[in-house]
């Protein structure tokens, strides 16, 4: 069994175009949610989101690449370039076959679907660009990373709705730990802030029209975001041998299924996932100082998640901190766990706990320390990152300071 460490991190999301920018925004409790900018906005009832602004893909990708890269792939590349640069890793021919990539996405190339459906249905065109299929397929981003970085080992994309990134990082962790791979790129992305993507979410009636206020009694639902988070995972031995800076150690992962409702969360499924991650990491509940919550800001999730933490942690639930950074960067759907893992890295490395912003009124159903509105200094040795997806698929990661 190899020890697994993180040696690179990258992101782009509504809070920032890099990890330092994103962490600075989290420290300041800055809001990345605002009025949406897109065509046909007048036909949407939800008009807010955490959109990435000022991103011009033509600066970063040439014309041939852009013909193949949906926005979700572009965002994945922005994050992976940062992560790879930070890791200093060179994927040599020798390392290539024992390096892989596992990414999570819920919607894949949503912009490509949206644009081309509009073209054939609304505009009545009878011809689409020849690259539509390779551009929209859910594994496109993972494939392009494999091509760009000469990654020839195990590569795949997982799709478990809002837990996609946590499942992806967890699987990559298991692959490095078991020796199946020496190095893994892992994380996820989603870019479903399209007219069709927002319409679909509107239909469920769980979206807020005003703000994402997790755990606050006056919360009114979730707010969609977009973006990517990518991490370089490698064996501790490999990282040490090449003198890489180690950001944190991944020590546990568990996934469970509710076998219940297709959209309503389940306390027992969440409890089993958190306990499973603790057990896999060989941690006791009291070792955990911070949990990055799933914390969507819906009535159902927040109440269930808090009850699950109470059950899994017992009296220690009152001593630990749990925040939802979705209040700032929105819900990145399949990419959300990857961006949220950055809050765990900040807690472990910098001793800064990202806040839950937009918090106004205590809810007796969420009576935990949710780090309301203002970031906090605290020394934390180990953290969990929760993801509880539609479909009742739960994935929890455990990390330790290095």
């Amino acid at each position: 069994m190899n020890r697994v460490v993180i040696t690179g991190a990258g992101t782009i999301n509504a809070l920032g175009a890099t990890v330092p920018e994103t962490l600075q925004a989290m420290r300041e409790g800055r809001l990345g949610i605002g009025p949406l900018h897109m065509r046909d906005l007048d036909r949407l009832s939800v008009k807010i989101g955490a959109q990435i602004k000022d991103f011009d893909p033509e600066i970063y990708f040439d014309r041939q690449k852009l013909a193949l890269y949906d926005r979700v792939t572009q965002l994945t590349f922005m994050a992976s370039r940062e992560a790879m640069a930070q890791s200093g890793l060179e994927i040599t021919d020798e390392l290539s076959e024992s390096t892989g990539v596992v990414l999570g996405t819920a919607a894949g190339g949503m912009n490509t679907w949206d644009d081309n459906f509009r073209s054939v249905y609304e505009d009545g065109k009878n011809r689409v660009h020849p690259f539509v299929v390779p551009k929209l397929m859910n594994n496109a981003a993972a494939s392009h990373l494999s091509i760009a970085y000469n990654i020839k080992g195990p590569s795949l994309t997982v799709s478990t709705a809002c837990a996609s990134s946590n499942h992806a990082i967890g699987l990559a962790f298991q692959m490095v730990r078991s020796g199946m791979a020496q190095v893994m790129l892992a994380g996820g992305a989603d870019a479903m802030l399209t007219f069709g993507g927002i319409k679909a979410w509107e239909g469920l009636r769980v979206m807020s029209k005003t703000a994402c206020r997790p755990f606050s009694a006056n919360r009114s639902g979730m707010v969609q975001g977009e973006g990517a988070g990518i991490f370089v995972l490698e064996t501790y031995e490999g990282a040490k041998a090449r003198g890489a800076e180690i950001l944190a150690e991944l020590i546990g992962f568990a996934m469970t299924s509710d076998a219940g409702d297709i959209v309503m969360p389940n306390q027992q499924g969440a409890v089993r996932a958190m306990r499973g991650a603790l057990c896999d990491a060989r941690l006791d509940p009291q070792d955990i100082g911070y949990i990055n919550a799933h914390g969507t800001g819906t009535a159902a999730n927040d109440k269930t998640e808090c009850a699950a933490v109470q059950e899994a942690f017992g009296s220690h639930a009152q001593d630990l901190m749990m925040s939802s950074t979705k209040s700032m960067h929105g819900h990145l759907i399949g990419g959300t766990g990857a961006v949220e893992l950055l809050a765990c890295l900040m807690a472990l490395r910098d001793g800064v706990i990202a806040p839950t912003i937009g918090y106004e009124h205590p809810d007796p159903n969420c009576a935990l320390d949710v780090v309301p509105n203002v970031a906090r200094q605290a020394k934390v040795r180990a953290t969990l990152s929760n993801a509880f997806a539609f479909g009742g698929m739960n994935a929890v990661l455990a990390l330790k300071a290095f």
Partner: protein, 85 residues
């Protein structure tokens, strides 16, 4: 068919019930309709009457659209239909 009869038909279909079994005083819960069923019923009402129903599943009790019983739903739909014309 009246607004009332159309709403009852939609609710009956959602609850897999006979129209005769949908009493005006019943709650949707009484009729075996869960939260996802509520959202689906409201969608069906919007489609049937071509109206926008103000309803947030996060806080049903705070929504302007009162879903506490079959009767309140009918009354709320009647109001929305009247406002539209």
């Amino acid at each position: 068919m009246s607004v009332k009869d159309k709403v009852i038909l939609i609710i009956a279909e959602q609850g897999l019930l006979d129209v005769a079994d949908v009493s005006l005083s019943a709650t949707l819960e009484d009729l075996g309709i869960d939260s996802l069923g509520v959202v689906e019923s409201i969608f069906a009402i919007e489609e049937e009457f071509d109206i926008e129903v103000p309803f947030n599943a996060n806080a049903p009790e705070e929504s302007e659209f009162d879903i506490s019983s079959v009767a309140t739903i009918i009354s709320a739909v009647e109001t929305l239909v009247a406002e539209q014309t």
